[in-house]
């Protein structure tokens, strides 16, 4: 049936759903992010306890030491519901695709100097395993976080990390270097350079407090490693050998900046909710940052030689500034 409808103006009975009108304090249209996020996770009348963890309800705020008056205050400033997330990533993917195509067409990888390739092999490629570890840890947050605001953002981050692991794999393929992937994997498993980082992510795989995992993996570790590798090292390689690595890792660099905005907002709101939260978050940052610095130090050295320690110290200072701005009181060692 094809109805010929004139465009008419009809007065709606209401502008939005009841739970959103109550949350916003007014019956007004809500964004698609708000409609797809707020107050939708079940909070009551669960039928059964999880067989894999019978001490908790299916959704249970007691799975972290952080306490929030409103779990939906942990909003994502990027307003990522699925559609917005996937469109943002597809735009970045388009750019990455064009970059990979350019490198291939111009033969830039083949012409890349051996000194640069050696750094790519030894510093960049093992990071695909680290990103896989981050995927496991972020999916843990997605599986146990409380409220859709945090659990959907963490699940998207898990997929982003998988994408990053795959972009690093493609980077090796762009250099026609499958054997380097095998060497990078054994380095990840055995070389002393990587054992601190591997222990760090493996320890997080058995850490039960999902908010602690968010802090240790996403805020602290990514907050140190991404600027070190995808800003500093990529810039240094470009300066010495021409702009190939920064092209092939543009996704990671752009992603880290965007992701940090989300994390800063989450930390800021959680810390502002109570002094206990602020104290707990600062303690986690202090404890995991010390371990992360120790684990990342050999990577900084592999990337920058004797200057590695100074570069890392600068990045650590940037991270402390970010977190202080988000409302955490970090100790003097910051």
């Amino acid at each position: 049936m094809q109805l010929d409808l004139r465009t008419i103006s009809i007065k709606p009975l209401r502008q939005t759903f009841g739970h959103l009108a109550r949350r916003m304090g007014a019956d007004k249209p809500a964004s698609r992010y708000i409609e797809g996020t707020m107050d939708l996770q079940p909070v009551e009348n669960f039928h059964y306890r999880p067989s894999w963890d019978p001490d908790f309800d299916i959704f249970d705020p007691r799975r972290t030491a952080i306490v929030m008056k409103d779990w939906y205050a942990l909003k994502d400033p990027r307003q990522f519901f699925y559609g917005a997330w996937v469109l943002a990533r597809a735009r970045m993917q388009d750019a990455a695709e064009a970059d990979f195509a350019l490198v291939e067409e111009r033969g830039l990888a083949a012409a890349y100097p051996e000194a640069g390739k050696a750094v790519v092999r030894s510093v960049l490629l093992p990071l695909r395993h680290l990103a896989w570890g981050a995927n496991i840890n972020d999916s843990f947050i997605g599986a146990h976080g409380y409220g859709i605001a945090i659990s959907q953002a963490a699940t998207y981050a898990a997929m982003d990390q998988l994408g990053i692991a795959q972009y690093l794999t493609r980077l090796a393929l762009a250099f026609s270097d499958i054997e380097a992937l095998a060497a990078a994997k054994s380095a990840w498993l055995e070389a002393p350079l990587w054992q601190g980082l591997r222990r760090y992510v493996e320890d997080l795989m058995v850490t039960g407090d999902w908010f602690e995992v968010l802090v240790a993996q996403n805020v602290v570790l990514d907050g140190l490693l991404y600027p070190l590798v995808y800003d500093r090292l990529a810039d240094a390689l470009d300066a010495s050998h021409g702009p190939v690595v920064s092209l092939l890792t543009r996704f990671q660099s752009e992603w880290a900046g965007e992701n940090a905005k989300w994390l800063d907002a989450v930390i800021k709101v959680a810390a502002a909710d109570s002094p206990e939260n602020a104290e707990k978050l600062a303690a986690w940052v202090g404890q995991w940052r010390a371990r992360a610095l120790e684990a990342v130090a050999p990577v900084a050295e592999a990337a920058f030689g004797a200057e590695g320690a100074a570069v890392l110290a600068e990045i650590a200072e940037d991270l402390s500034r970010r977190l202080t701005k988000a409302g955490l009181s970090l100790g003097a060692s910051a």
Binding site: T16, L40, H47, I178
Partner: protein, 514 residues
């Protein structure tokens, strides 16, 4: 980097590097601590790498294709909303399909998102982990696009605006809630059989394909677009479910009896859940595309037979409930609709007695049962309604302890008899709608005694809205139930005479007059 490799790696080789090769055996923490959920169900896995995702989708391609789908979908939604597309549906009764859908489906998609995130975290192999996590984000997509498409209807019609509040409180939504609560509280392998296999592979076609084709047939471009767009992810999900079953069965012969018990359990639980979907097809779509019975035959009996014949080589048998579902396909939709019609004060959607030509259609589609058992009941209710004596059942329903359906389905051997089975466990009496539900209970009684049954909770005084003193001497259980549900009076009862009916007629007149 001297070795020159063939740049055009095949899909399979490339995918192995992109997934399986990323994973490693942890050593600083033992693997069984990192992946603690995969052993306690008794499923034996010897080689996680034997699991291959045949779609072999990497994130770059995933983002690209999913973004294309999302762009199309939201462009159509925006256009539909801008042009008052809601006025182009066949008639306003159709909108009640969306009310039932909004209450029952997006909340379950959200549970699926959570469940697949958990399984995606806990599976050991890279293949299943990646496929499960992709399904997890797809499920976020489904619940959000469903909410977004119905959001505009909510602005103009009653009964949708409290779906978030009602998802855990409304009596008739507890069967779906118990279904997903049951799956998500099970271990990861059972979850995969429950949702990935029994629901996605065996049953979801019946939920989506005829229902969405029905939406298209009834002029609802928004629901059609969202539905089909969601369905485009479903092929991946179905494949994951089937691969999981094959994987478990190929890994160890000891897995067969466990998997068979889950297949029997979850096919039955899913069948019960779909009774209300069938009711939408047979009673709520003003223009019908096929009967529930026809859909059941096409998607369950024929397709299911192909599937189970194929799985027979592993020793898998057709689900135990198969025969009963075939017998019930001619009854359940009628019993469900009549059940809802009889409770006009208790649902946020309207009910009605079908028009004469619609009753004739049902007679034709259900030649063995409709004229004999159900048409007389509907005609009787119709006469009662017209003489000002509308039937109204004000009592709380009795529910099955396992599937939480109201006990209303007939004995498979006698259509005139409601089936109810009861038993005492640890001094307490429990009731079941079927032998299958009773068997599910018997296998895990400590799980099913936990079930939340809303009619019991009401009588225990637990379903009072915030601010009501349940200890007051004059407190009457059930008196506040509509407030506990936030049930809008305008959304309840008969479609005839409803605000929706009047508004739709007036707006449509306005939009079609010159």
């Amino acid at each position: 980097m001297d070795m020159k490799v063939d740049k055009k790696l095949g899909l399979k080789e490339r995918y192995a590097l992109m997934t399986r090769d990323l994973a490693w055996e942890t050593t600083y923490q033992p693997m069984d601590k990192v992946f603690p959920q995969v052993t306690y169900e008794g499923i034996k896995i010897h080689d996680w790498n034997a699991w291959e995702d045949p779609f072999r989708l990497t994130m770059d391609a995933y983002w690209k294709y999913q973004a294309e789908k999302e762009r199309k979908l939201y462009a159509i939604l925006d256009a539909f909303n801008q042009n008052n597309g809601h006025l182009s549906v066949t008639d306003a009764r159709y909108i009640n399909v969306l009310k039932l859908f909004l209450g029952s489906t997006p909340p379950l998609e959200l549970m699926a998102a959570r469940g697949f995130t958990n399984v995606g975290r806990h599976m050991v192999g890279a293949g299943p982990r990646v496929a499960c996590l992709m399904q997890a984000v797809d499920e976020y997509r489904h619940f959000q696009t469903q909410v977004h498409s119905i959001s505009n209807y909510n602005k103009y019609y009653n009964g949708m605006n409290e779906f978030a509040h009602q998802q855990s409180r409304m009596w008739y939504l507890s069967d779906g809630k118990s279904f997903f609560d049951d799956a998500i509280t099970a271990g990861p392998f059972e979850f995969m059989v429950a949702i990935g296999f029994a629901f996605e592979y065996v049953l979801t076609n019946i939920l989506f394909v005829p229902f969405i084709s029905g939406a298209a047939y009834n002029g609802d471009m928004a629901a059609m677009t969202v539905g089909f767009s969601a369905q485009s992810d479903e092929a991946r999900h179905m494949t994951l479910g089937l691969e999981c079953i094959k994987f478990m069965l190929e890994q160890d012969p000891d897995n067969l009896p466990i998997v068979q018990r889950w297949i029997d359990k979850w096919t039955w639980r899913g069948t019960r859940k779909l009774a209300s979907v069938g009711m939408m097809m047979d009673y709520m779509l003003p223009k019908r595309i096929m009967s529930f019975k026809e859909a059941w035959e096409m998607y369950f009996e024929q397709n299911g037979a192909a599937l189970f014949n194929d799985l027979a080589r592993y020793g898998v048998k057709v689900p135990k409930c198969f025969v009963q579902t075939v017998a019930e396909k001619e009854h359940v939709t009628h019993q469900s609709w009549i059940g809802f019609y009889m409770k006009p004060d208790s649902t946020p959607f309207h009910t009605w007695i079908p028009e004469k030509d619609e009753l004739d259609w049902l007679s034709e589609k259900y030649p063995n049962t409709f004229d004999k058992y159900y048409r007389p009941v509907l005609e009787h209710f119709d006469a009662q309604e017209k003489s000002g004596n509308r039937f109204n059942n004000k009592t709380a329903p009795m529910n099955c302890q396992v599937c939480i359906s109201t006990i209303k389905f007939n004995d498979p051997d006698d259509p005139m008899k409601t089936l109810i089975r009861s038993k005492t466990y640890k001094g307490e009496k429990f009731h079941f709608c079927s032998l299958h539900c009773e068997e599910i209970f018997d296998a895990e009684p400590e799980k099913y005694i936990q079930a939340y049954i809303s009619s019991h909770q009401v009588l225990q005084g637990n379903c009072a809205p915030e601010g009501v003193d349940t200890t007051a001497p004059d407190f009457e259980p059930g008196a506040h139930i509509a407030a506990y549900w936030r049930l809008d009076k305008a959304a309840t009862g008969d479609f005839n005479g409803s605000e929706d009916q009047a508004n739709f007629a007036a707006w449509r007149r306005q939009a079609t007059s010159n």
